[in-house]
Symmetry: C2
Subunit: 324 residues, 2 copies
């Protein structure tokens, strides 16, 4: 049984052997650029892990891992245009480095290449893989639209938010593990269970991201905390706070949320003070723990030797204590 | 054997039965909007025609026709953003009616739905269909990038232009006919031949479009002629003109092409005068005829009774004499 670190390494070796040096280069240079920005390669590694768990032969799912990585990068390119994000992994985003048109088009072509990789080595599993991929891709797009809608909607509930992050982020993790499991020959019940495990962990992962964005250690988290607060991003932290706040606290919240010009550190401190008063971090961490535990219960039901579950258990635990 | 008009009707009935009323509606309303703008449905009709030719049972290819129509509309939505086009079929484009972000995202989700339709009813043909679709989609994206590159490139040759329109426009027509033929059970040689017929006719069709844009009758063409001239669009007409022009004519061409402010009608007349002097229309129409004849020679090689070829012959002939 290979470890997650080993699988990540296996994927990176495969990725480096792929060539996307076609013409016109205006289309393919951005394509290579975003793939070269690196990252943890969490999603393709999950494809390999899903396959390794059920077959001890992760390599057979490498093309599907590549498909998931391409899909993820396609969605980053397009989301960054929509969010007008200047930076991705500390480097200029594709639309900043090149331009919007190139970013739209190289994202499009990347999505098509994802389908090409899905077919590789998949034979009679092709239809199942593509249907799973389609369903997931549609959900991710829907999640992104909900996220954009929420920016101008003041009635977003915690449940709305959880549904949104499930679509935008968590389903892809579930899809990655399930795709690997399908390639590894898992039975239908187990492919559905591992999908569920991925979804639950994906939600926990995103909630942890939200917590780190406000409460993270600047040195370990790698960026200045409070970005979500500055942008009034309706994360679970802010939604819970708005629901639980006293009238006095609501006044302060509204004051800072409506203010157009402000010193970022002042706003972050003012809102963080209320987060502390309401124990918002505990509430969020309990929710994370709940998703983690549900994921582990589903994992228990999967019918493989315990040794095959070690790596995903370690991965899940690492989510709970991560600082970056 | 059904006629093209009947197949168009069959497709429209099928299209009207499809439902894309999912949530969030911000994503799906633009989706329904562009499909509702109508048009000749040339591409899905070609899928049905390809199937009808080889099986006399076009209906079995309806989902694949839908996939091609969705792909076409996805590419229209994204191209219109890139070209900053305000109108499509006389109505506001998706990014104008809604906004850029929604246009990017609803285009993306439309492309994914295309893959979902491809799988329907295709069984053991699925892999072949998806590989064909991927190859075509990649070529269309590459063609669009070449088209954008050409805007700022003064060394575009006629061959570069022909290659670009082949990728951007013609391959999709070839793909449509081939996809239908595959669904209709044609043998491999014939599916490749019908693909070739579609590509050749697609190039002829685009060249005819270019001719109509300059020489079309305003009443019949439905829009004021000269749009390409006003924008300095490097169509075959302009490229040939730049290559064949005398020094005197070149001066006039450069004067109008460099001029930032001008009376559109004056510029169109000045450049059209040179087109007439150099017999550019004849040159373009000879080229169209050449592609038409090549297409018909390839059609002759296809091993089906002549009756099955009547409709595509009529369609091809109609391209030569069309005025709108």
């Amino acid at each position: 049984m290979k470890s997650i670190a080993e699988l990540q390494e296996v994927f990176n070796r495969y990725l480096n052997k792929q060539s996307f040096r076609n013409q016109p280069e205006e289309l393919y240079i951005p394509f290579q650029y975003i793939l070269s920005l690196g990252g943890k390669r969490m999603r393709p590694t999950m494809v390999l892990l899903g396959c390794e768990m059920f077959s001890h032969d992760a390599e057979q799912a490498l093309p599907q891992a590549m498909a998931i990585e391409l899909f993820h990068n396609f969605s980053l390119i397009h989301d960054d245009i929509m969010d007008k994000a200047p930076l991705r992994r500390g480097k200029p985003t594709v639309h900043e480095k090149f331009n919007n048109n190139t970013a739209i088009l190289s994202g499009d072509v990347m999505l098509v290449y994802a389908y090409e990789y899905l077919l590789e080595n998949s034979k009679e599993k092709a239809e199942q893989l593509i249907r799973l991929f389609n369903k997931t891709a549609i959900e991710v797009c829907e999640g992104q639209q909900f996220d954009m809608n929420f920016e101008n909607d003041n009635r977003v509930s915690v449940n709305d938010y959880l549904k949104m992050i499930e679509l935008k982020t968590a389903v892809l993790l579930g899809c990655a593990l399930k795709m690997g499991a399908i390639m590894g020959g898992a039975n239908e019940d187990d492919t559905n269970r591992i999908c569920e495990v991925g979804r639950k962990l994906g939600i926990a992962f995103q909630l942890q991201d939200d917590v780190l964005d406000s409460f993270g250690d600047e040195k370990k988290f790698g960026k200045q905390p409070g970005g979500d607060i500055i942008q009034n991003k309706k994360t679970m932290l802010l939604i819970e706070t708005l629901e639980k706040a006293t009238e006095e606290q609501l006044k302060v919240l509204k004051f800072w949320m409506d203010k157009k010009e402000f010193e970022p550190k002042e706003k972050v401190k003012a809102i963080m003070d209320i987060y502390y008063e309401l124990n918002i971090r505990d509430i969020a961490e309990n929710e994370i723990l709940r998703y983690y535990e549900e994921a582990m219960l589903t994992l228990d039901e999967i019918d493989i030797p315990e040794i095959g579950k070690t790596e995903i258990r370690n991965f899940a635990k690492s989510l709970l204590v991560r600082e970056s």
